[in-house]
């Protein structure tokens, strides 16, 4: 078990090594391919180390390794290190696995990038892997926050990877600003928590919680601030606006960062610190409600997207809502479970979508069509992902989603439960919408504009090269394995789910599939007709419920305007006063100079007045 920590440490340091090498050895970075392979090899190593760390770990037994980081007079303010236990190592595996596969996949996906920027890409990738693992293994709030910010940075850098494209550059800063806004709350929360408990360390806090220390009573405000951070990262309503835009980054990045790992950091944080949130039930309830709402809300948005990546992005938001809802219901492990499974099949979906885009050269599903025949492998893989996302039995997502539904029901959050069911229905609907539109039916004419690399079109698209398909297959199999595995042996849950739950969940999913089949495959009902029925929601959804516009307004009219005013005040009032004073001094000198009239007798006046005033002045004091 001691090994567990060391393995975890190695896993953590492997990408760090590759990052340092790539960033310091400039020619290596600029060489492109070599850099890529270095990074890939090291992340493979990380994967191995992670797995062995998991195998070495035993439940309910944490292994800590700490190094002093910020000293204070009496001891240590905070330290850095590794906290390896069953959960963190499991998450570690997910991170290592996905990032490894994505790195391999990217080699094919970004084949025709200039070597220098390819090197930049892999440098960022390694940095991300390093920071994400650090986050996962963080033994205390400070390290968690550090890595938290670093993964945010990586997401910023990778979204803006194609910075020459205005949308990409804009999306990058948008992502950073929105998540950072949440982090403001997070930081405040940490500070408050520290000044209450005097520690950042999870274990110590856990012991406090066990011991029922009164330092932890009435944590409501603190925990809510911390939750804000999680909400920002995990794109909870209303912070979700950045995630869809983040799709401007290369698709592998979206798969890794904006589907599988980083966005789930918020969930992971809540899962990690659940013992603290339990001290503040009201906050937990809020988490649950917001999560459920986000799930439903995002699902509706996903139904109207034409961009395949945006569909997936909204579905990610919605799934994150699921996890949050479970945690809010008080059953964090359920959320964590869904986190893992979702990580797998959402990465799968994104990468598959990437393959499609790579082949077709467009993101618009209506610009595709009939790809099933031309890209059979991709079709199968995508289908696997879709089914597990929809929550069909024997597929990855089924069990974890049902767990969540059960958790919310058992947690007594009835309304959120209803929302989640509805969301499940919609999920199945929009995912199969994609399947039917993009893969079935007749190929659309050659796509207008390609936003992905390569300018091919749907007509002669073909499966991606092996370097891209192999990772896809691995993930697909994994999704199946998880599904089947859970079907064979449930890990016993901490709550009793009502027996009608399974049928309800499956029913909702099937309903969604049927409906989308009716609409898009068979064409019995035209989408337009549905829209006319749901005009209000439809238009609003088309406009993303005006949320983005609202934030843009806040930024332009609010912050920038305020800044303009302050700038004006500084320039013309604060500085103006200074200039006025100096100008007055100059003018005063000029005026005073006038008394030097040049006429002798006026000078005599000076003398006489001087004597007179002197006399007057001297008689005053007494």
């Amino acid at each position: 078990m001691a090994a567990s920590g060391n393995f975890a440490l190695w896993a953590w340091l492997a990408p760090a090594l590759s990052f340092v090498l790539l960033s310091l050895i400039v020619p290596l970075r600029r060489s492109g391919k070599a850099a890529a392979w270095l990074s890939i090899v090291l992340s493979a190593g990380a994967l191995v180390a992670a797995v062995s760390a998991w195998r070495a770990s035993v439940p309910d037994m944490a292994r800590r390794m700490l190094w002093e980081w910020i000293p204070v007079e009496d001891g240590v303010l905070t330290s850095v290190g590794v906290l390896a236990d069953a959960d963190s190592t499991l998450m570690l595996i997910l991170v290592a696995l996905v990032s490894f596969l994505v790195q391999v996949y990217s080699l094919g996906y970004l084949a025709d990038e200039p070597p220098a920027s390819l090197g930049r890409y892999y440098t960022y990738q390694s940095l991300f892997a390093f920071s994400m693992m650090g986050l996962v293994l963080a033994p205390n709030f400070v390290q968690l926050f550090i890595c938290w910010e670093l993964v945010g940075l990586c997401s910023y850098l990778l979204i803006g990877y194609w910075y020459a494209r205005p949308e990409a550059a804009r999306a990058a800063v948008k992502a950073f600003w929105v998540t950072k806004a949440g982090d403001v709350g997070f930081l405040i929360g940490i500070v408050m928590l520290w000044s209450r408990t005097g520690t950042f360390d999870f274990s110590e806090l856990f012991e406090m919680a066990q011991g029922g220390s009164d330092a932890l009573t009435g944590l409501g405000l603190v925990m809510f601030c911390i939750y804000l951070g999680a909400a920002g990262k995990s794109a909870q309503f209303p912070f979700h606006v950045w995630l869809p835009d983040a799709m401007e980054g290369p698709t592998p990045v979206s798969a890794l960062i904006h589907a599988a790992t980083m966005v789930t950091a918020g969930v992971y944080l809540l899962f990690r610190t659940a013992f603290l949130f339990e001290q503040a039930p009201e906050v937990l309830a809020a988490v649950g409600w917001i999560g459920a709402f986000t799930a439903l809300f995002a699902a509706t948005l996903a139904c109207v997207q034409r961009d395949i990546k945006r569909v997936l992005a909204y579905s990610t938001v919605s799934q994150l809502g699921y996890m949050m809802a479970a945690i809010g219901a008080g059953f964090a492990s359920a959320g964590f479970l869904h986190l893992l499974t979702h990580g797998v099949f959402k990465a799968l979906l994104f990468l598959a979508a990437g393959a499609v885009i790579h082949a077709v050269g467009t993101n618009d599903i209506f610009g595709m069509g009939g790809l099933a025949r031309r890209m059979p492998q991709t079709f199968v893989i995508f289908l696997v992902g879709t089914l597990s996302l929809a929550g069909i039995p024997f597929f990855g997502g089924f069990f974890s989603k049902e767990e969540i539904l059960g958790a919310t029901w058992a947690g007594g959050l009835t309304v959120p439960f209803a929302m989640l069911v509805a969301a499940a229905f919609l999920t199945a609907f929009y995912m199969f919408r994609v399947v039917f539109v993009a893969f079935m039916g007749a190929p659309a004419g050659s796509a207008a504009h390609g936003s992905g690399p390569g300018g091919h079109d749907a007509a002669h698209a073909h499966d991606a090269p092996a370097i891209m398909t192999v990772p896809l297959w691995i993930l697909a199999l994994l999704a199946m394995v998880i599904g089947v595995g859970f079907a064979r042996s449930h890990p016993e849950a901490e709550f009793v789910a009502p027996d009608w739950l399974t049928s309800l969940a499956v029913g909702a999913a099937l309903g969604g599939i049927v409906l989308s089949a009716v609409v898009y495959a068979l064409g019995w009902i035209s989408p337009a007709w549905i829209f006319r029925r749901l005009a209000v929601v439809g238009d609003a959804a088309m406009e993303r419920f005006w949320l983005d516009d609202f934030f843009a307004l806040l930024y332009r009219r609010g912050i920038l305007e305020l800044a303009r005013i302050v700038g004006w005040v500084d320039r013309y009032i604060v500085d103006g006063v200074v200039n006025v004073l100096s100008a007055w001094t100059l003018t005063l000198g000029d005026r005073l100079r006038r008394i030097q009239s040049g006429q002798a007798q006026d000078y005599v006046y000076g003398i006489a007045l001087g004597v007179l005033l002197l006399m007057v002045w001297m008689r005053w004091p007494r």
């Binding site: 910020i70 940075l153 302050v566 604060v574």
Partner: protein, 520 residues
Amino acid sequence: MAPVSALSLSSFPVLSVITWSPFVGALLIMFLARRSALLVRWLAVVATAVPLVLSIAIYVAYDREAAGFQFFEDVPLVPALGINYQLGVDGLSLLMVLLTSIIIFAGAWASWTVKVRSQEFYALLLLLVTGVYGVFVSLDLFVLFLFYEIAVLPMYLLIGIWGSTGEVRPQGVFGWAFGRTGVGTKEYAAMKLTLYLLFGSAFILVGILALYVAGDSSSFSFLEMELTQFDPKLQSWVFLAFYVGFGILAGIWPLHTWSPDGHASAPTAVSMLHAGVLMKLGAYGVVRLGMGLLPDGTLQWSWLVGTIACVNIVYGALSAMAQTDLKYVIAYSSVSHMGVVMLGAATLTEVGLNGSVYQMFAHGIMTGLFFALVGLVYEKAHSREIFRMGGFARSMPGIATAFTIAGLSSLGLPATAGFVAELLTFLGAWQSSHAWWLFPAVIGAYLTAIYVLRVTKQIFWGPPSTDPHFQNLPDARGPEWAALWILVAVIVLFGIWPSLALGPVDTATMPLLNRLWVLQ
């Protein structure tokens, strides 16, 4: 090895050598290097490298167990008045000396391309540096004041001769006054900066004299004054005098307006040095003289210091956001960050004060890097208009990367020195008796994120500008890299290894705070 090298160092006057070697360099440059520009530069590099090496050496050799002032030197100067040439460093000044040596060493490289009258330029620059070192190491208030004046004056010529005239500002409410004083020109900036700071030094002088007259031991020595208990009323107004006097140099609101104009007009190395080190000199003065000598005064006025610091943070960030001239953005960001420094000091908590000191260091390096980069960009693109430039990351990736790192440090991103400083300051703020200080501080950090990334996106990581004369600009080259990478390395190093600095600093701040806490 520490004690050993401490012995070997204490044998010769290391602090004097650090302080005066730039001065000697200046003399050599003036007299030896008549017309060989290259010789001038190399002399400057050597004259700045010697203090760098030595300051690193004493940094290592400083005995943290013993703490207190070390490498002590004491030569009577005017015994009649109790004026002694008394030098010594504790953890606080140690860090500041290190900062100064790093910045000026980088500055010497960064101003490699100064062509006009480079001889006088480097001579004045080095003279200035001597003054800065002197302030940090001198323990005799009087000598400290002498060095302070030296550190201020050459600025006038440096800006006046080698500065760049920014855009002359349009008419405003006080337009006539702007016309009268010639706002915007480099002469104006130079005069404004110099006079503003000398105005501040007037207050400092009065304060020092007051302490000297009031102190029973007729001596200017800091150590002796530290032992005297001054009358609280005296302390109250003397502290204000110090706060205003040094605070002007530290850019406290609303006495900060010299800094944007000055820093924007100054040549690169001078901006680096001034924003990077001299502003810290102000903060250092407040902490060392104000808090160190006047505990009562500190307790009476910390609320004011902290509140104004909060104003600084938010106000500075917002004004920075409003600027369109790159150098003004950086200058205002300094105003904002100095707010963090003052805030940390005002919290009167261990973490807060450490954070303040750390921020002095972090901001020094970071803003130095910023100004170096702005100088480079200006030299390549001949523009400081943010919204005319764009997409430079393609043509000058190195500069872009360095700028991004500096920006991240300034918005307090972890793994850069800025984060540690801000985290500590925030912790201190919430612990202090005015917990609400935390919120403006954090909000300020967020605003920083907004304007820094906005600028970075616009200039570097964005769509390339269509302006023809921004085509195929060169990246930094040769000596310029030296400046950049030294500073970047320091930022990251101190970002991931804070105890490197916090160890010694803590030995300096704790005694100071203990004296305060006794009174609380």
